[in-house]
């Protein structure tokens, strides 16, 4: 098989960081090629160069054997390279079809969009590759898995031969990952080539034909899954041994940290999202909330944080009635919140890190000094978070947007775990972070638990769910259908419960 894509000696510098240096990569035609590496290793940067989003300072890119000079994504698209970004680039207030055809609309006379023809073409693509999406559905109604399929359809619609996916599985639940992988296999069977980034080594070993490892901006090795194992890959990534989370012993207190009693929630348009939810959380325990995305997890979190009001029942957080207490007071009472969408709810992307450190803590000591914010304390504590959580950044004055996705996540987790919170609402706390950082975050969560905090862990990562949770609550279609003991439950049982089959 020939190489469809070849990268020779690429280099890219940002102020204070070398994001890529001396990067080399060979991708065979019709293969699934995985790229792995720590947060900030330069994976996304490399992909952006391949897609013409940024221009490398030095080096060569060869596509189908000939050297190319990518000035913009348009150039990449013309060469048959398509990219699905780490953060989706879709508009909610438009249909699937509109999102897909944007930028390569088939037209009559150059300005009238031939929507019917476009719909036909899209339906053909979705049928051929088994992508289950409805062209006329409004995007605001779609869950993450469907959105990703829209992104893939978008790329295929442009006739891409090489597909780049940046952390496609980070946002998916296990079933969705399986569906995605089935889609990807279908694609390579049809002669396409897939290049994807992942932090989940099991996944990479199971689906990839080749695995390239990056470390500190450069490619360090390429392996075939048959010739390697998880341990070797992890060591190649971090250049040493992995830290192990220390499991503390379980000391559940009698104090009720969170008590939800027959809570229901309906949206403004009258649709009932949650009904009859009951959940008790005590100090010193971690309760994992498992479920396929879109079954009411986000809304449940909003109820707990006082961001939404239950239409029935009660939500007590640290003895406060969340329905009538301001979110600020809930937070000040000792509730930490790691939101699942870090860029939308967790950070101000165009503000420096130290300002982001203040977010959510702007009313309490030490971030507040009377009516002013305490800049000195914010700067100092930002430095501590950066150190303690191994946030890879040139400094605390850089904008949040300059950090890689995983490092943004680490910063948020560090901020929220500060000050011994009593309740930690952690939604996807390790989404998009590498195995090393994942271990650090797990370790901190365990430490918080042994200090007596109650943790509600909402996660799509089964490994995380099983290794951290003391109990697993399964949410399905707006209510908690069962509470499982992780030690006595298999992933298969859990999968069944999550999809609404009889609980285990």
């Amino acid at each position: 098989m020939s190489n469809v894509l070849e990268v020779i000696g690429i280099e890219k510098k940002y102020p204070g960081v070398i994001a890529n240096r001396d990067v080399s990569l060979q991708v065979r035609e019709g293969s699934i090629h995985a790229i792995i590496g720590e947060n900030g290793a330069g994976k996304s940067t490399l992909m952006k160069s391949l897609y013409g989003l940024i221009r490398p300072d030095a080096g060569q890119i060869k596509v189908f054997g000939s050297e190319v000079n990518l000035k913009s994504p348009q150039d990449a698209i013309e060469l048959g390279i398509g990219m699905v970004h780490q953060h989706f680039k879709l508009a909610d207030n438009a249909t699937v079809l509109e999102n897909v055809i944007l930028g390569s609309e088939p037209t009559r006379f150059g300005f009238v969009v031939k929507y019917d023809q476009a719909r036909k073409k899209l339906l053909e693509i979705t049928k051929n590759y088994g992508l289950d999406i409805d062209p006329d559905e409004s995007l605001s109604n779609l869950g993450v898995g469907e959105r990703q399929r829209v992104e893939i359809a978008k790329v295929l619609f442009r006739g891409a031969k090489i597909l780049i996916l940046d952390e496609p599985t980070a946002v998916l639940v296990p079933q969705e990952v399986d569906e995605l992988f089935a889609n990807l296999r279908e694609l390579v069977k049809n002669g396409l080539t897939v290049l994807f980034i992942s932090h989940k080594l099991d996944e990479v070993l199971s689906i990839a034909d080749d695995i390239t490892i990056m470390r500190q901006g450069t490619t360090v090795a390429t392996r075939k899954p048959k010739e390697t194992n998880k341990k070797e890959l992890a060591e190649l990534m971090v250049g040493g041994e992995l830290p192990k989370p220390k499991a503390g012993e379980l000391k559940v207190s009698s104090e009720s940290i969170l008590s939800i009693k027959s809570a229901a929630y309906s949206r403004a348009d009258g649709r009932e999202i949650l009904h009859d939810v009951n959940l008790e959380l005590h100090g010193g325990e971690i309760v994992g909330l498992a479920g396929v995305e879109g079954n009411g997890q986000s809304e449940l979190i909003e109820l707990i944080m006082g961001l939404a009001q239950p239409s029935a029942g009660s939500v007590q957080v640290l003895g406060l009635d969340a329905a009538t207490t301001l979110t600020r007071e809930i937070r000040n009472a000792g509730v930490a919140y790691i939101p699942q969408d870090r860029q939308r709810d967790g950070l101000l992307m165009s503000a420096p890190l130290w300002e982001n450190r203040i977010l959510g803590h702007q009313f309490a000591d030490p971030m507040a000094k009377g009516v002013w914010v305490n800049k000195g304390a914010a700067i100092e504590d930002s430095k501590r978070v950066v150190d303690e959580f191994d946030v890879r950044t040139p400094g605390i004055n850089v904008l949040a947007s300059a950090l890689s996705g995983g490092n943004q996540q680490k910063f948020i987790v560090g901020r929220e775990l500060t000050g011994d919170p009593k309740l930690i609402v952690a939604a996807q706390p390790t989404r998009g972070v590498d195995v090393g950082a994942q271990a650090i975050i797990w370790d901190h969560l365990m430490q918080a638990r042994s200090k007596g905090a109650g943790i509600l862990l909402v996660t799509a990562d089964l490994e995380e769910l099983f290794s951290l949770s003391d109990r697993i609550a399964v949410i399905y279609s707006g209510t908690i259908v069962s509470i499982l003991n992780p030690a006595k439950t298999t992933p298969e049982d859990l999968g069944l419960a999550m999809t609404g089959a009889k609980s285990a």
Partner: protein, 411 residues
């Protein structure tokens, strides 16, 4: 994915205009009823509907202008100033070279004022509200300054332009006569409706008709054309658009320029059709009301049109008899009563109680107050705006990134 959902969608599509027509007919029935009770026939008189249309057109143009800009992602607070540009240039060039040249001039200068807003907000990245305010101030100042230099003094007054030749208007043959004849027969409901239709089919300016066509044209551009799709994405998610090779800056430049042109044409209408001179302060805040129609109309051309008719109607009432406001209050009372009944039937006691309260209040006002103070009639449109926006705020879907700063290459 199935055909089921598609037919369901098609159904709701055909259902909603039918529903709206029914709703309007019902409202009109109530108004006819009120008019036959009170004996005042001003609301449905041809005079009122004609005036409503005349007042609505400038608001519509400002609204469409606002819609073009916001759909592309930039809020245009400068609509008022751009309308001033339209009134002044239309009157001045109209005076020199005839009204058609006046309109053309307003279009060109409006386009330029929009382009200026685009340079400030898109290229330089100035805050959109600041740039809009600046345009309002500059336009008002420049108009006064240039009036002083160019307009021949009329009795020492330099704030009014010399009169401009009027534009031709026409009455739709047969149709208007038909409505007129029914209106005069005084049949309940039918005559009221015909009176209204007569008002909008007689003495129609060609400009009115041409400008009305911009409503379907804008819809067509937004949902059928390539530019419209790109424009909508520039307002919804410019990063996504940029990543697909779309030149967001250029799209915004074009949309904002068109926005300026539309607002300016609304100004030209004020100077050349609604009157025949430029007068200082002629726009009287219509640019801002236009901005409100964008919200009222949920960023859709047809909605903007409906909004401008509503605001145009309240405006028309202001210059006509105050009693008609009284009839309107009575009509509102009846509507509230019906809603109260509707909600009590479906056992939603809270809204039922609220509407019942409103109904009682309206009836009380109707019984106890003899004459509505002129001041109230004057603020009525503003009041109506406020109420409508309060009630609608929940259901709106504004372009996600309208008003947000955007720089090329941002993530």
């Amino acid at each position: 994915m199935s055909t089921e959902t598609k037919t369901a969608k098609a159904k709701s599509f055909f259902k909603s205009p039918a529903r709206i027509t029914l709703l309007i007919a019902g409202l009109f029935l109530i108004i006819s009823l009120v008019e036959s009770i009170t004996g005042s026939v001003d609301i449905s008189s041809p005079g009122t509907s004609g005036a409503t249309l005349r007042f609505a057109i400038p608001l519509l143009m400002a609204g469409l202008g606002g819609l073009w800009a916001e759909r592309a992602g930039v809020i245009n607070i400068g609509l008022e100033g751009m309308m001033i540009v339209g009134t002044w240039t239309a009157a001045w060039f109209g005076y020199l070279h005839g009204p058609y040249v006046g309109i053309l001039a307003a279009a060109v200068f409006g386009l330029a004022s929009g382009f200026f807003h685009a340079i400030l907000t898109v290229k330089i990245g100035i805050d959109q509200a600041v740039s809009g305010l600046a345009i309002n101030l500059i336009a008002a100042g420049a108009a006064r300054y240039l009036s002083g230099i160019y307009f021949p003094p009329v009795g020492g007054d330099r704030t009014v332009s010399p009169p401009v030749e009027t534009l031709p208007s026409f009455t739709i043959p047969f149709v208007a006569d038909f409505f007129k004849s029914i209106d005069e027969k005084n049949i309940f409901f039918l005559s009221n409706i015909s009176g209204l239709l007569y008002g909008i089919t007689r003495d129609l300016s060609v400009v009115t008709v041409a400008l009305l066509l911009l409503v379907p044209l804008t819809s067509w551009i937004l949902w059928r054309s390539k530019f419209g799709l790109r424009m909508r994405f520039s307002g919804e998610n410019p990063m996504a658009a940029e990543s697909l090779g779309i030149n967001v800056y250029r799209t915004r430049y074009i949309a904002i320029s068109v926005s300026g042109m539309l607002a300016s044409l609304g100004g030209a209408y004020l100077a050349l059709v609604a009157s025949s001179v430029y007068r200082e302060g002629q726009t009287a805040g219509r640019g801002f009301i236009g901005l409100a129609t964008v919200i009222f109309g949920n960023w859709r051309p047809s909605g903007v049109f409906a909004g401008s008719l509503l605001f145009g109607f309240t405006d028309a009432l202001r210059v006509r008899q105050a009693e008609s406001v009284m009839s309107l209050i009575l009509a509102a009372g009846i509507v509230a009563l019906l809603l109260a009944i509707y909600y009590s039937v479906s056992r939603s006691w809270k809204p039922a109680g609220a509407y019942f309260g409103i109904a009682l209040f309206a009836l009380w006002v109707n019984q106890k107050v003899d004459t509505i103070p002129q001041e109230f009639v004057t603020v009525f449109p503003n009041f109506a705006t406020l109420i409508v926006l309060t009630f609608l705020a929940q259901r709106l879907t504004p372009p996600a990134m309208a008003g947000m700063p955007y720089r090329r290459g941002a993530e």
